[in-house]
Every structure is written in C-alpha cells, then in structure tokens.
Amino acid sequence: MSNLRRAGGPLLVIVLSAVALAVLDASGQAFWQGLAINLAIFMILTVSLNLTSGFTGVFSLGQIGFMALGAYISAILTLPLPEKAAYLPNLPSWLAGVHLDQRLGDVPVGFLLATLIAAALISVVAWLVGRVLMRLSGHFVAVATLGFLVIVRVVLFNADSFTRGSRTFSNVTPYTNLWWAWAWVLLVVYVVWRIKRSSYGRDMFFQRDDRSAAQAVGVRVMDPRLLAFVVGAFFSAVAGSLYAHFITSFSPTVFYFDLTFRVITMLVIGGMGSVSGSILGSIGIVALTEALRRVEDATLLYGLSQIILAVIFIVVITIRREGLLGQREVPLDRLFLGHGRAGPAPPAAPPAAPPPPTTRAEETTSTP
C-alpha cells in the first residue's frame, strides 16, 4: 500500500507530462514542439552529466565528445542507401550497405536500433577512456577529458569518408519526435535515480565527499566512477542520436565548447548530485535562452544571452555553490503521504531524502 502511494507522485507527473505531450503533439504548434524536443535533449545531457560528474565529483568536460560520436554513428547508420551513395561515397563497403531506415508499421525500428548500436559502441569507447582517465581527479581529470573533446573534434574533421569532414552532414531523416525524445528522458531519469539510490550510487557520493575515508573503510573508488562515466556516455550518445535526427544537418563545430558549457551551467545551477535539480536547471536555462534569443533578435545585440548566462553562472557559484537543490531531490514520492502522517511512517521518509547532516554541513561550509 505504502509502495503504491510512494509511486503515486512520480506516476502522476508522468501521466500529466504524457497528457501535455499529447496535447502539444495534436496542437501542431511546430515551434513549441521543437522547443520541447530541444529541452528533452538538454535534459538527457544534463542528467547524464550529473551522473558522470555530479555524483562522483570527477568533472568531465568530454561529454559532448560522446554526444558528437553518437550523433555521427547513428546518422551514418540510418542514412537511406541513395543518400549514402550520394553523400558518403567513400564509406568502406561493410558500412556502405547498412541502412537502418526500416519501419515496423509506424515505428521506425531502424532508428531505435541505430541509437542503441551507437550508444553501445560509445559505452565501449567510454569504458576504454574511463579505465585510463578515472584515475585522475579534480582539475586534472577536467583537462584530460577536455583533451578527449578536442581529439574527437579533430577526428571528426579528418575522417572525411565517414563524416564529410568540415562540410555539413545533411539529409538525416527527421525521426526524432516528441515521444521518442521524452521516452528517453523518462528512461535516463529513472536509471540515474535508481543508481543514486543503489549501493553504487552511495559509493559514488561517499568517495566524492571524502576519498581517503572511503578508501579507508573499503569503499570502491574506481568501479563507481567508471560505471558513472560509461552510463553517462551511453545516454550522451543517445542524446546525440536524438539531436542528429532532430536537427537533420550538422557539422563538427556544433559539438564543442559552447554546448559543453551550456550543459554544465544547467547542471551547476540545478545542483550537482540532484536529478530533479538537473531537470529544473535544464528547464530554466532552456527557457531563459529562448527568451534571450528573442531579445537578441529584436535588439540585434548578439552575444548578450551568453553573457547573461555566464554572469548567472558566476553569481550562483559565488553565492550558492551547491546550486538550487544541492544533492536533495524534490520529494515527489511524498506527494500523497501528507505531512501530518510523517510521524508514524518513518520508513518511507529516509530513502526520499539524503542524510540531512551532510547537506547541512555542506551548506554551512560552502557559504563564504
């Protein structure tokens, strides 16, 4: 009974979102649909970066590199044969014949398969990279992963026969729609939330907060970091695939530092370690960006939006470093439990909130 009640809050949110999506889908408002898909992609990126970096404290600047690889791999896989012959004439023969553009009724299964293949391949890459880089911490790992991003960019620019080099990769079929994008959001939020509540998740936070203490009591350091890195890369590649089949033409320049910084802003503002914080952070920044873009268009003051975002970022990191939520979560699962009955049902409360003493301690120490 109590389990059912606890699931009530999240279920309610899912049902309401589904209704909102259905309304949006039926409305035919292309602008708002595009914005919702854009938001979904940023949400996937932010939540997965939160797992990789927020949970473990191993700050990765290479996430957009995984996204870029995911975008290119899945786009190459789904490209129909005539387009493939015309745009990528130099593909090796084993790849030139592949075209995952099949549909099963209305469902583009080829797209799903291509996304999964890309994400799986990227996970392997991330595992190899992570095996090497997760030994580093602090700014060393940030810069090493930034190196990874630069390497990916150089590879994309130079692997002409696969990526068309610096020329635009275009004519990707626009498979990504509201349902695909938001289904993936649901999955990434669920997976990351489950990881946070698992023993692996607790290890991630523990080794982040005090590595020496964690090692002293036998908590693993490498394994949780590597898990976070690989799962984060998997979903970043998914975001890349969704992006590729949404925007339909792109070049390597998109996947670089501006995008990286935007996702980091969403993460830091929402709170490193809080899944609901990442969701709120991405909603806030996407909405703000969109509003500022209109101001830019109207006033022709291009660059203004990024200045404002950067200023907000500096203010947040100076005044409230733990972001909006720190590592707490919005207590959706207590939606139906009611505050009056919190006393007699203590077992329901503790899993919903992280240990209060640590959050208190963080708040006091990190406020300058």
Partner: protein
Amino acid sequence: MTDYAIQQVVNALSAGSLYALMAVGLAMVFGILRLINFAHGDLMMISAYLAVFSLGAGLSLAAALPVIVVGTVAVGLLMERIAYRPIRGAPDVAMLLTSFAVGQILQNGTLLITRLAGKPTLIAFPSPDVLNGVVNIGAITIPKVNVASFFAGIVLLGLLSVFVTRTTLGLSMRAAAEDLPAARLMGINVNRVVATAFAIGAGLAAVAGLLYSVQAGQINPYMGFTPVLKAFIAAVIGGFGSIAGAVLGGYVLGALEVLVTALAGIGDLLPPGSVPPEVRSFLQQWLPSGLASWRDAVVFVVLIIVLLVRPQGILGQRVRDDEL
C-alpha cells in the same frame, strides 16, 4: 635538407616562445591559487582587438604597444578582482568553471562591441610593417614575426626570472606559491601578490597576442581558446605551477608540434635517391602528409600520457596522490 631542418628549428623556437609566454601566466596564477585560468587565452584576444583599435587609429607600433599592454593588464586585474577573488579557496573545479564563464563574458562582450561598431566577426589584422616580410640568412628564409617572437620570448622571460629571483615582490610571489597560509602568516600581502601575478601574466599575454595575431593574419573573438589549451599543455608538460617548467614546456610543445608538422609527408619531401625505396614507402605510409591536420590530437594525446605517467611534469614537485 639541412636548411629545411634549420628552418624547422627556428619555427619550433618561435612557436615555443609564444607558448612559453602564455604558459608562464597560467603557471604563476596556478602556483598561488590552484586556479586554472582558462580566460587567460581571452586576454590574448583582448590584446589583439586593442591592437586593431590602436594601430587602426594610426598609432605607430611603439606608441600602440603601451596602450595594448596597459589595456590588457587592466582587463586581467579586473577579472581577478571581480570574478576570482570572491571564490578564492573554492574547490578546484568551481574555480575552473568560473574561468570558463569569465572567458564567455570576454568573448561575447567583444563580439557585442564589434557588432555595435559595425565591424565583422572576423577582422583582418593590420600587421605593423616592422613585423611584415622575411629575413634572409644564406639560403634560409625566416618570417620577421618569428624572429620577433623568439626574441620577445627570450627577453621577457629573462626579465621575469630577474623579477622573481631578485625583487621582494618576486620573492613574496614564490613564497605564496610555495605555501599560501605560511606566506600570509609571514606578513605577505596576498591580494597584492595575486594581483601582481595576474598583471604580469596579462602583460605577457598581451605581447603573445600581438605576435600571434600577426602570424594568424586575422582575429576573431574566439581566437584565444586554442592558444590557452596549448599553453596549458605546455604548463603541464613542464610541471604545473613552476615558472621554469612552464617555459621549458612551452619550448617542448613548440618542438613537438613542429616535429609532427615537419614529419608529415616527409617521405615525399626527401630528395630522390637519398633513401632506399622501402624506407620511403614506409615513411609515406606511416607519416602521410595528412598527418599535419592531426597535430592538435597528437599534442592532447601527449598531454593525457603526461598526466597519467608523470603528472608533476618535467620540473614539478611530486604530486600527492590525493591531489590527483
């Protein structure tokens, strides 16, 4: 062939000087604050725009240079005072991310101002005549700007070494880098020392920015990103936080890059008959001329290897495990 080799050595020294000038600024600040200041590259960009502005206003290079340097130093000091001082002592990553935000503000601020002034994003750099053209020594032709970069590097870094070893302020800076709390207890004014480090770093970046822009021929608001990455690699290779290490790392990186570029397509460049055909085809296969465009990837692979194998760099102190 010897000429080719000498030419490449000169290229390496001139590129190395620019990297060293940039890396020193990063290393001084990092040594004291543990802040990797990625906005350092944007100081180069500011210097380039100040140069366009002052040279475009008809000033000679000698008259423009003080304007450029003073302007860039002012921006460097402002950035320290407004953005970095409030978060001094914050976790490493928070400071690193702040420096990215500062960079975004400088880049987009410059973009905004150029747009308002009705200028395009990409501006051709009005190179002063002194730095245009080439110098001929025997059969070797060297662009003047490369010679200027080399000497600017040697002279300025020499002056810096006199400053940090012979003056009180320089000594306080080294003391602060060694142990900040202890230095403070000894009565060293930390704010002053940090401001000095930022000012010197910005001044060197201003000179590097001017020379870099002459070499590149055109400037844009995002031009600082790649050089600061390179300077960072140089500083890591040399030993982060060590000034001498940053200089050494700068020249090592310059040599490494020129080596990659020079070896690319070497199989086609060797005169006929100088090597056996098997060697030539081996070289053509493994060092194709396309390798040059992979240069940035190669230097980053080197960076990652250095971080893993010898994180303290060539000259740095041993890095403790818990700092890694």
